[in-house]
Amino acid sequence: MNPDEAKFILSAYRAQGRDAGDPAFSEALELADADPNLGRWLQQQQAFDAVVSEKVARFTPPSGLRESILAGARIGIRKVWWRQPRALAIAACIAILSAVSPLIWRAAVSVEGNTLSEYAMNYASRPFVLMEHSQDISQLKAWLVSHNAPEPVNLPGELARLKGIGCKTLKYQGKKISLVCFDRNGTEYHLFIARHSDFPDLAATLQMRSHGKWGSVSWGDAEHQYVLVSAAGPDAVRSLLL
């Protein structure tokens, strides 16, 4: 073994002697003991590794992630409605699995769909985390605008009067789209918004879809294509547009 081969192997050697008992490193370590240059290189490498490890450990997850994980998973485990509405607010827009059949859930494993409606239904039926939380729709719109994402404008019917839960940006077929989540008496509705300029082939006409208990309705205006989905079912979704 020459020093270069030893360096190659010792790049995988962890600090504080964690791998000291692994025979894969023994020959390279012996060479580092005998060769001052290689020994110095190993010391420098370990110092570099220690600082990088310490630094990345300080990178903290967003607030609310832990609560979202716990709430989302418990819904899945118990198959009952989440019992703490306040925690649900923190874990906003976690999929309502109690209302979704196992068949739907398996279908949702593949998030990408052939259409924006399929994508929206798949995405909304699995756990996800919102980037901005507010009941105030104008605040959610401002956040989306500041992130160069499509904002909801001229929403029809009761949808325009609902309280918000939160919003986030997503990538669909490489283009930025928005998701705004609404609350209607404890039931969540998820509005996906895409720019027509990004998806010129999307039909702007009103279209209804259903998959199990999930329902979606899509429509368009001059600038945007919208897809509204909910586990409350197609009738409930449609009624929001009236």
Partner: protein, 185 residues
């Protein structure tokens, strides 16, 4: 009233931060990292009971997150293979390590997330969780020798990226207009 932690909560508390960092380094997006982390724990909640050896939960979680990332990432993203990148053979001056200590965690994480994808996953597991090369091989499903190669080459790339990050704070914009005003009588 205090509520006793269940096993699942304990598992989340133990690993969600590390899994999020791993997810962030893979996806380079806070949103996707949050979703991936949550999805991983959801899969555990629904399928984890099939894992008979609970001691392997950590490895299972990281493997599952990595698989979820590979499955959900866009099809038009491609692996980057840079086989001619040199292995980590050059010495690291003490000044370089001192400069590295001045960087904050977000800057180092950003540099790590900028490493080519093929090297990023093994490097992140090495630095985040102190995974051994054998654990990395098992988690990512690649041969141990390949892990060594990717760690060595990935460290070279990370050093280069960190050097750029270290240089940035020293670049102070030159305000020419302010100087001209001061020169006027």
């Amino acid at each position: 009233m205090a509520v006793a932690k269940d096993a699942f909560t304990g598992l989340v508390d133990a690993y969600y931060a590390s899994l999020y960092r791993f997810a962030y380094s893979l996806s380079r997006s806070e949103t996707d990292a949050g979703d991936l982390t949550q999805q991983t724990f959801y899969i555990w909640a629904t399928k984890g009971h099939t894992l008979h050896d609970v001691a392997k939960a950590k490895s299972w979680l990281f493997t599952t997150l990595h698989r979820e990332f590979l499955r959900t990432r866009r099809r038009d993203q491609r692996w980057t293979f840079i086989e001619d990148l040199p292995v980590a053979q050059t010495e690291i001056p003490a000044e370089e390590i001192d400069q590295l200590r001045q960087l904050d965690g977000a800057a180092v994480m950003s540099a790590l997330a900028s490493v080519d994808e093929i090297f990023r996953a093994p490097l992140t597991l090495f630095y985040l969780e102190n995974f051994s090369y054998l654990e990395i091989a098992e988690t990512l499903g690649i041969p141990p020798g390949t892990v060594m190669s990717r760690l060595s080459r990935g460290k070279t790339q990370l050093r280069n990226l960190l050097a750029v990050a270290e240089a940035k704070p020293n670049i102070v914009p030159f305000d020419a207009s302010h100087t001209r005003r001061k020169q006027q009588p």
